[in-house]
Subunit: 183 residues, 2 copies
């Protein structure tokens, strides 16, 4: 097997345009063995930034809000879409301020990750932010109230290992940040 | 803020049906503050299982295959959709055997995670499988060749922390498994 065995795209058709939040396409491909697959759904969602904000007191800042996919409230790390022309770190810092009223002294990039390697579903850009502190009231959310919560780092680790953070970008970022912190 | 402030769903319209692989809907909601949002895209993808298979020699078994969303090859953990009526662990074991020709002695559930808390995009059911061993040739994949690779645990940790595993379910599972192993 060589890396040259890519799929050859034959066609791409727009199925639904909910810009700037989502675009869905049907793709047709010719596989390396000659088979053709049609109506392969591609889901384009915007890239987003996720931040693990650690305070000097070894607390992690979380947001809690209603999330449609679970029809309930989730405790998650601050996250949001990159705006046009905005760097991932600028988006992370902007969302941390908007959602939590927080700023941070030191930013470390922990990688970018595709949420679904088959269909897309957006890329997460993950950051560890040390020296985080709440300096302002949080904005209300775009589509509902957000509340801000601080949890001790040890509790975050325990609850993460127990599978309590069910939002995948949050759980991924917690794992990467704990490793980067050596905790 | 109380937990009663859920969004009230007003309507749900099928946008694209690519069953059993994907279904896309437009939803309309009434927010707690009375605002109405329309055409909120929901992306239903099947639940899937992801396995971190560790051998007695402290190697982790990976698969490498073409992935459409990156138009290239990715090194990932064994993963696949739950079939109708199949438990997550049964799906994980089946995929490990189909993709890697491997079985495992001891299975540990590390949680389930929604890939996109806004839109869905499927739930990942994550497992650590100790005592894994390759006992048969791997099947070829559904839509292209899969190759099987074994990496030493220390190398997996190093490459994971460096952001080299860009498939989010794989990176999430590696973090959880390393913590469960205390490594």
């Amino acid at each position: 097997m060589s890396d040259e065995q890519r799929w050859q795209r034959l066609d791409k058709r727009l199925v639904a345009d909910r810009s700037p939040f989502a675009r869905v396409y049907d793709l047709d491909f010719c596989l390396p063995d000659g088979r053709v697959i049609t109506n392969w759904l591609q889901v384009d969602l915007p890239p987003f930034a996720v931040t693990f904000p650690l305070t000097e007191a070894d607390e992690v800042i979380f947001v809690r809000q209603y999330r449609q996919a679970v029809d309930g409230y989730l405790l998650e790390l601050s996250a949001g879409h990159l705006e046009a022309g905005e760097s991932a770190q600028d988006a992370a810092a902007r969302e941390l301020y908007e959602e939590c009223g927080a700023v941070a002294a030191e930013w470390q990039f922990l990688g970018r990750y595709v949420m679904d390697a088959n269909r897309g579903c957006g890329w997460a850009h993950i950051f560890l932010a040390r020296g985080a502190q709440i300096v302002a009231p949080a904005d209300s959310g775009d589509v509902g109230e957000i509340s801000v919560h601080r949890l001790p780092l040890g509790e975050v680790r325990r609850r993460w290992a127990a599978g309590e953070f069910v939002s995948a970008p949050t759980a991924l970022a917690i794992g990467l940040a704990l490793a980067a912190l050596g905790r």
